[in-house]
């Protein structure tokens, strides 16, 4: 499976969300994006962004002071 790691360390929200959004835009359905963040706000914001835009949140975890959020791309149909 396509897995893309996005380094969002030191970025404050909403920059991590923007990075994930921009990466997702060019990826096909089923790809996975793994955002590595240091701003704990990303733990709320990236999942909220995924819910709103119809992508699938796979997991969130904390690893040695870093927050890792994995999202699966679902573009679906535009209205």
């Amino acid at each position: 499976m396509n897995r893309h790691v996005i380094d969002c360390r030191r970025l404050l929200c909403p920059m991590p969300v923007i990075r994930v959004q921009n990466a997702v835009a060019s990826l096909p359905d089923g790809s996975r994006v793994e955002a590595v963040c240091t701003d704990p706000g990303a733990l709320n914001d990236i999942p909220a962004w995924s819910r709103i835009n119809g992508h699938r949140l796979i997991e969130t975890r904390t690893d040695d002071g870093e927050y890792i959020i994995v999202v699966e791309v679902v573009h679906g149909e535009s209205p």
Partner: protein, 347 residues
């Protein structure tokens, strides 16, 4: 069946844009949100940085509003393009360094480009006539629609009845009778409408949607521009203006001293880009130097930072200075006394 029309709503995260989008959605229009990131947005950055604020809920209000509305949200990074707006605003600044009118025009222009690219029909904002002294006045409404190029594709549902007809109204995509005529500074009509619609959970930003309306922040940014001899800034500059105590002992450099652990941790992320100091013999704050320093300056900065360490009353404090090349050396200094620090150093 008639084609479903599509609108993009400028979502700031506050109540007005939430209501405006809701009102249009209720008329059967497909609404998506757009939120612009200028770099100055108040999105809990200081909460994210400061340790004592870590427990506060950190959520992005624009995302929260979009979720309440059940709409998609597109966050657009306009940091680069915004520099020109902030440094040379055609319509000037508000009470501090907030170029609100130019900012609004710029955002609506970007939204207009966006709808053309995405095939949307019109733009909505939560603007209310008279709500804000600089950017939301009767005279500024046509300036925003005209100078942005959006013209009659810009609909303000909360005060549309006080404004000329827009295309969505003329074409009957939206029913003007079900729009509003709010005006003035009062927040009561919006709060009443929110209550009517059963919306209870919303952010009430005090002052404005960004740091540029903050007096302390504006003073620090003005100082940065003066010291550099021109109005320029990078993302790192505007981030660092949000943290620490800033002191300028000389025109060519300033010192940023962490006020607490969370700030220190955040500032350490910049240690490869800035010369910095740490207290070795005692507990003490992390400090960055922004600018050019010589030997004597380093000694002075070390004494200054030592003043904020736990060794402030000691005869001697050991400090470690690291230069841009990553070379660290140790200094033993006598901490400054509070009265030795001139008031004008404090930015």
């Amino acid at each position: 069946m008639s084609e479903q029309r599509k609108a993009v709503a400028l979502i700031s995260g506050g109540l007005d844009s939430l209501l405006a989008a809701h009102v249009i959605q209720a008329q059967g229009i497909h609404v998506e949100g757009i939120n612009f990131f200028t770099g100055f947005c108040v999105e809990g950055h200081t909460h994210a940085i400061r340790k004592r604020d870590q427990k506060k809920e950190k959520r992005n209000n624009a995302l929260h509003v979009a979720e309440q509305l059940g709409i998609k949200l597109h966050i657009v990074d306009i940091v680069e393009g915004y520099k020109q707006i902030l440094t040379h605003p055609k319509h000037g600044y508000g009470a501090n360094l907030n170029p609100c009118l130019d900012c609004k025009i710029f955002m609506v222009r970007k939204a207009h480009e966006w709808i053309r690219a995405k095939g949307f029909d019109f733009i909505i904002t939560g603007e209310v006539i008279g709500q804000r002294p600089m950017s939301q006045r009767k005279e500024t409404m046509p300036i925003v629609s005209g100078e942005s190029g959006a013209n009659d594709l810009l609909l303000r549902p909360l005060c549309a009845k006080n404004l000329p007809l827009t295309l969505p109204e003329r074409e009957g995509w939206v029913d003007r009778d079900r729009l509003y005529d709010f005006s003035g500074r009062s927040r009561k009509p919006q709060m009443a409408l929110a209550a009517d619609l059963g919306i209870e959970d919303y952010a009430q930003p005090a002052g404005g949607c960004c740091f540029l309306t903050d007096e302390r922040y504006a003073v620090k940014l003005t100082d940065l521009w003066r010291a550099r001899g021109s109005k320029q800034y990078e993302m790192d500059d505007i981030m660092l203006l949000k943290v620490g105590r800033h002191l300028r002992p000389a025109g060519r450099y300033k010192v940023i001293i962490a006020r607490e652990e969370g700030e220190g941790k955040f500032m350490q992320g910049y240690r490869r880009q800035y010369p910095h100091l740490e207290t070795v013999s005692h507990g003490g704050p992390f400090a960055l130097i922004d600018g050019v320093v010589d030997e004597a300056d380093v000694e002075l900065v070390a004494r200054l930072v030592a003043r904020y360490s736990q060794g402030r009353h000691a005869d001697e404090v050991e400090m470690a200075f690291t230069d841009l090349a990553g070379q660290t050396r140790s200094l033993r200094v006598r901490p400054m006394r509070p009265e030795q620090i001139p008031q004008e150093w404090l930015i």
